[in-house]
């Protein structure tokens, strides 16, 4: 029997399983996505007597997008290693690209309550032009694509959930706590500033801070920052496609 297969259904399956049904059954998990970005936002805002609130609000948004992307790693690893669900999907007509895209969308859906709150905070405190908002949106999409690809790549190498927790524990500080996401990079003294430039989130934060008029960059620096972020994302996407083990060897 030949059936007409719907790609939107294949995407929706991941969103239902990994986000909607999970949220309905375990509402407490939504607090998980809320707590980390908001707690750092609060600390930075209090410590700076409110002066860094706009930048920290953007930082919380970046951290949330990175968190959404890297969460793919833990969720995929759990569904693959503990449930063997991924094996069932691998041998079904769903491709790796559709499965991972569905899972990535599911992470966004999962964090809708957090995203809504952070978007409201950004609309209230970040006064960007229309072009600035477009830049911030594209910036968020790029860093999300980067972190999702990284999450997928690591999940395919992860053999159990304990290893996956370790990956999460490493990724979160490296990508969103240590880099200057919640404050301008000028707060970091040399030579540590060079280290910050190893993280793609530094570039994402600089673009967002520039779009909000909080830092100044020359056109060439801005272009270079975009190029570096785009390169990070493309390289990670390429690695995820080429190196990940959808089918084992």
């Amino acid at each position: 029997m030949k059936i007409k297969r719907s790609v939107s259904s294949q995407l929706l399956a991941s969103v239902l399983v990994n986000a909607i049904y999970a949220m309905i059954n375990y509402p407490v998990v939504m607090i998980n996505t809320l707590l980390a970005p908001l707690s750092i936002l609060a600390v930075v805002t209090f410590a700076s007597h409110g002066t860094l609130l706009p930048i920290a609000a953007e930082g919380a948004l970046i951290m949330n997008m990175v968190g959404n992307g890297t969460s793919v790693q833990g969720d995929l690893s759990h569904l693959k290693n503990d449930m063997k669900l991924q094996d069932m999907v691998v041998s079904s007509p769903t491709s790796a690209a559709i499965y991972i895209s569905g899972m990535a969308i599911s992470e966004i859906v999962y964090s809708i309550p957090t995203l809504s709150l952070l978007i409201i905070l950004n609309l209230l405190y970040v006064h960007a032009s229309l072009l600035g908002w477009v830049e911030i949106f594209l910036d968020m999409m790029l860093i999300f694509a980067f972190s999702t690809s990284l999450g997928f790549l690591l999940s395919t190498f992860s053999s159990d959930i304990v290893q996956s927790w370790a990956f999460s524990g490493i990724l979160s500080p490296i990508l969103s706590t240590i880099p200057p996401v919640y404050y301008p990079i000028t707060y970091i003294p040399y030579p540590y500033r060079y280290l910050a430039y190893l993280s793609p989130t530094t570039y994402a934060a600089e673009i967002a801070q520039y779009a909000a008029g909080k830092i100044y960059m020359s056109s060439s620096d801005l272009l270079l920052t975009w190029l570096v972020l785009i390169t990070f994302t493309i390289v990670m996407l390429f690695l995820a496609i080429k190196k990940s083990r959808w089918r084992e060897y």
Partner: protein
């Protein structure tokens, strides 16, 4: 429905063969049972055929499609429940079945409707909206089997689906598989020999990565020297003919031999009024003979 393998081999980390030059062809609607001890290569074979794992060398085809080079064609034809698969605990049986169907490309509406039908067929309609975590082990397994049989796939792979189930739950699944095999090919790996014998139209015996035998029960019996057995309920009985004798307990022995000799012995037992039963050898006996050489002279 057809599966063919030619010299299929798999080596992990360039060390020992997990699968060594396995060749067979099966063309039927029915059940192919693959048996073997733990580590015999059952799951490796299963995973290669279901396009999850790449072989080191050799070829495998599903309905003529190469599992290595044409995986997307193969995946249209198969549905798989891997070993140790678990029903996702936060989903209900209906959500489990329908989401799997959606991954196969069915619409939400179609998947819910087919899901309800299949759960009703399996007697799971009363728990279709319960969380999987609240179901018994047998029900969870049935939910997993429901996911794959609800699909249009003509070839179903089930890797040790009854492991850990009680006898009645296993029997329930067996009955289900017997119904299903009429219009599908079911590849079933198991280490329950009784299960393989009861269900398998064709049985493959794997040991240390090699396919020792691949045939139906009648064909497998021809592979061994003594295809008949006679169980004697007395320890005072001695035989002088060419037979294999296996001591089962203090006052029970099992004698293996050819049909003619077994009937000769039976006649003498009848004359001496000794209780006995005669039967063709079971898969258990064949497996012991081929794999463990457990039949003693």
């Amino acid at each position: 429905m057809e599966i063919t393998t030619n010299n299929l081999s798999k080596k992990y980390d360039q060390k020992k063969y997990a699968l060594k030059e396995v060749s067979f062809k099966v063309s039927l609607n029915g059940i192919l049972s693959i048996i073997g001890k733990n580590g015999a290569g059952k799951t490796t074979l299963f995973r290669i055929l279901s396009t999850e794992l790449m072989p080191t060398s050799g070829k495998a085809y599903i309905n003529g499609y190469d599992v290595v080079n044409e995986p997307s064609k193969v995946r249209e034809l198969i549905a798989v429940v891997p070993q140790e698969a678990r029903a996702v605990p936060w989903l209900t049986p209906l959500q489990t079945v329908s989401s799997y169907l959606m991954w196969r490309g069915y619409t939400y509406k179609e998947s819910r409707s087919i899901g309800r039908d299949i759960l009703r067929t399996l007697g799971l309609e009363k728990v279709e909206n319960e969380k999987n975590r609240k179901l018994s082990g047998g029900m969870k397994r049935k939910v997993l089997v429901a996911t794959v049989i609800s699909s249009e796939a003509p070839i179903i792979f089930l890797d040790e689906p009854t492991t850990g189930l009680d006898y009645l739950s296993r029997k329930e699944l067996w009955n289900l598989l017997i119904k299903l095999k009429k219009d599908r090919l079911i590849v079933l790996t198991t280490h329950y020999l009784e299960e393989a014998e009861n269900l398998g139209d064709i049985i493959g015996i794997l040991d240390k990565g090699s396919m020792l035998a691949f045939d139906n029960m009648q064909g497998l019996r021809k592979l061994i020297k003594y295809p008949f057995s006679l169980k004697v309920y007395s320890d005072k009985f001695t035989v002088d003919q060419e037979v294999h004798v296996k001591k089962l307990s203090n006052n029970e022995i099992q004698i293996f031999s050819t049909e003619e000799k077994i009937f000769d012995i039976a006649k003498s037992l009848l004359a001496n009024k000794v209780k006995f039963t005669v039967q063709e050898v079971s898969l258990n006996n064949i497996f012991e003979y081929l794999v463990e050489e457990g039949v003693e002279d």
